[in-house]
């Protein structure tokens, strides 16, 4: 894994082709295309998706034929890639049952731990501080209507 490299043009081209192919195929299969005079909901996405599919393949082929920049997966900040989205989802899930305070603490802690070399103690202090700041700005300052304490804890 450490020595595996990606050619960025091939990878991005294939990614575009997958997106384009999906949009085009699902428009053809599930939506009414209509005709050029009265275009249905599937007409525009079918065409643009098809074009994107073709363009993606072109980018990939160009990348395969020419030397180009490569990316090493070893430099990807895996902690952040996992912890930031997980923190966001936990935040959303905790909001109703547990409230803004705990949701924010969870998110802040996940975010802090995504930084390399962060210790548990520093992350905890940082989370508490930013949580307090956010509550001060959004709950007290802007008066956003998010419950501080959730349904389960009342």
């Amino acid at each position: 894994m450490r020595y595996l490299k990606f050619n960025v043009d091939i990878a991005s081209g294939l990614l575009f082709a997958i997106f384009g192919g999906w949009f085009s195929a699902s428009s053809f299969l599930n939506l009414n295309l209509g005709n050029a005079f009265r275009m249905g909901p599937g007409f525009f996405p079918a065409i643009v998706g098809g074009l994107l599919f073709a363009l993606g393949l072109a980018i990939a082929i160009k990348g395969w034929r020419e030397e180009c920049e490569t990316v090493e997966p070893a430099t990807v900040p895996w902690r952040g890639v996992v912890l930031l989205p997980v923190g966001l989802i936990l935040f959303g899930a905790a909001m109703r049952p547990l409230g803004l305070g705990i949701a924010l603490l969870t998110l802040c802690f996940c975010s802090a731990m995504s930084v390399k070399g962060m210790t548990l103690a520093r992350a905890a202090v940082l989370s508490a501080a930013i949580t307090a700041l956010s509550i001060a700005i959004f709950h007290i300052g802007l008066g956003l209507n998010l419950p501080l304490v959730g349904d389960w804890l009342r």
Partner: protein, 500 residues
């Protein structure tokens, strides 16, 4: 005099107490963000979008605009003091600005940047006000095929003038167009392309998309290599310019303003291209061109005037045609749509308060920048010492609270997470996220104009070629594409952008 009455309407709106306040908050927040490393104006505008939902439309846009030019201002501060451009548009200022700072003339450089920006801002405000009404009248005469072709030209031009691979940028635009039309089809009421998720019936959450692509993806990229920057918090003194210096900056500032104003109107042009062009031209025509690169005051004045003028005239196509010329303008249009204002030529008639208030507020904002921020530079520099982990956590918390308070759903967090990862993947693969956002905003509008055109022509696609205005736009778009693929020009373009 229509012009005078329009401007006086603008002054009455922009000087309303709450608008002055929001303009101030925007300018202040923007400067702060411009100074902070790793948080760009796009991320800030995206993060603050939900906060503006509860405001009146004029206040909301005034504040967002304030963030935009405030960030540019903050960006030049770090360019001069630290040789670190806070924003791409102030990268060129590092050449002479940092040299001036090294010779103990940091104060003079900062004052030059501020004065040149203010002069440019004042002139650009008048230009926006002068051009807005006639351009709107022209745009009103457009029929659907012309409108469609204009959007094609706008998207192509923004791709050609942006840096990076043209093919990838076009692919990003297309992906944006597709993501933009997910949800309920306006004509038939069928939900489409939602993968069976009911939450997508109203379309992809624009704020989540913008914050994910610009804010959190950027954080992930910065997490790759936590950089340790040396902060020179030397005392900055001598913020006053001598009469001799003042005389030296007048002409470069005016030239920069002219270049910036012209380039800012072009799609994809905006602030960054303007500052480069202004510097290069100044190097050719300035009386003191020999000093350029070694701390010439002209090398600060010209690009700073240009990027400010360019960022302001970029509002012209956005306000009069509903055409975003860069990602910041796309976010502005997104904010308008969320406020229930349909972008296009008729906002000047339907929303005159917002329109003229916004234009005048830009001038007021520039004045605030000069009066309030110049003395505060010491404070801003101290913000550079904020440790990166604090920034990461704060951005995450503010983004999540902002989006959740607007949508109130767990689903919006899935969307935010998805677009953060997608944005990071695209960045690593050398694909800029800005074209995707332009496409996202224009997707529904383009589809609608296409449908109308086809209804009008009874399904005959040649209508785009037989309508004279439409044909002109398409020829221009084709020419732009041909130019960029011509090898000689492609090489020069790469050289121009590799200087960054």
């Amino acid at each position: 005099m229509e012009f005078i009455s329009n401007l006086s309407l603008g002054f009455s709106v922009a000087f309303a107490l709450q608008n002055i306040f929001f303009c101030f908050i925007g300018v202040l927040g923007g400067t702060l963000v411009g100074v902070l490393p790793g948080v760009g104006p796009l991320a800030t505008i995206a993060i603050l979008l939900p906060v503006t939902f509860s405001m009146a439309p004029d206040s909301a846009l005034i504040m967002l605009a304030g963030i935009y030019y405030g960030a540019q201002y903050g960006g030049s501060t770090t360019a001069i003091l630290l040789n670190l451009p806070g924003e791409a548009s102030s990268a060129i200022t590092t050449l002479d600005g940092y040299q001036m700072a090294r010779r103990g003339r940091a104060g003079a450089a900062l004052a030059t940047a501020a004065l040149a920006s203010f002069l440019a801002g004042t002139i650009a405000t008048v230009i926006v006000a002068l051009f807005a009404t006639p351009l709107t009248k022209v745009a009103m005469a457009f029929r659907p095929p012309s409108y469609f072709s204009m959007m094609v030209l706008g998207l192509i031009a923004s791709v050609v003038l942006a840096h990076g691979s043209v093919l990838k940028a076009i692919a990003m635009v297309m992906l944006g167009l597709l993501l933009g039309i997910i949800g309920t089809d306006m004509y038939t009421g069928t939900t489409r392309l939602d993968m069976g998720m009911l939450e997508l019936a109203e379309g992809v959450n624009f704020v989540a998309l913008a914050i994910g692509l610009f804010g959190i993806a950027e954080i992930l990229r910065n997490l790759e290599s936590p950089e340790n920057r040396d902060v020179l918090t030397d005392k900055v003194n001598g913020l006053w310019l001598s009469l001799k210096d003042l005389k030296r900056i007048v002409m470069p500032s005016l030239r920069g303003t002219a270049i910036g104003s012209a380039l800012g109107i072009l799609p994809g042009g905006g602030a960054m291209l303007s500052s480069y062009a202004a510097y290069i031209i100044e190097k050719k025509v300035s009386r003191n061109r020999g000093e350029m690169g070694n701390g010439a005051i002209e090398g600060v004045a010209a690009p700073e005037a240009a990027n400010n003028a360019g960022s302001q005239t970029a509002f012209i196509p956005m306000l009069t045609l509903g055409l975003p010329s860069n990602a910041v303008m796309a976010l502005m249009i997104g904010a308008m749509i969320i406020q229930g204002i349909q972008p296009g030529p008729d906002i000047i008639i339907k929303q005159p308060n917002m329109f003229w208030g916004l234009i005048v507020s830009m001038w007021i904002g520039n004045l605030m920048l000069i009066v309030l921020n110049l003395p505060l530079i010491g404070l801003w520099v101290r913000f550079l010492t904020v440790p990166y982990p604090v920034l990461v956590v704060a951005v995450m918390a503010f983004s999540a609270v902002g989006i959740y308070s607007a949508s109130g759903t767990l689903f919006s967090m899935y969307e935010l997470g998805f677009f953060s990862l997608l944005g990071y993947v695209f960045m690593r693969l050398g694909c800029e996220p800005a074209p995707l956002v332009l496409g996202f905003i224009l997707g529904p509008m383009m589809e609608e104009q296409l449908r109308r055109s086809m209804l009008m022509s009874r399904g005959d696609p040649t209508v785009f070629l037989t309508e004279p205005i439409s044909l002109c736009f398409l020829i221009a778009a084709a020419a732009a594409l041909l130019l960029i693929t011509a090898p000689a020009i492609a090489r020069r373009r790469e050289e121009a952008f590799s200087e960054e």
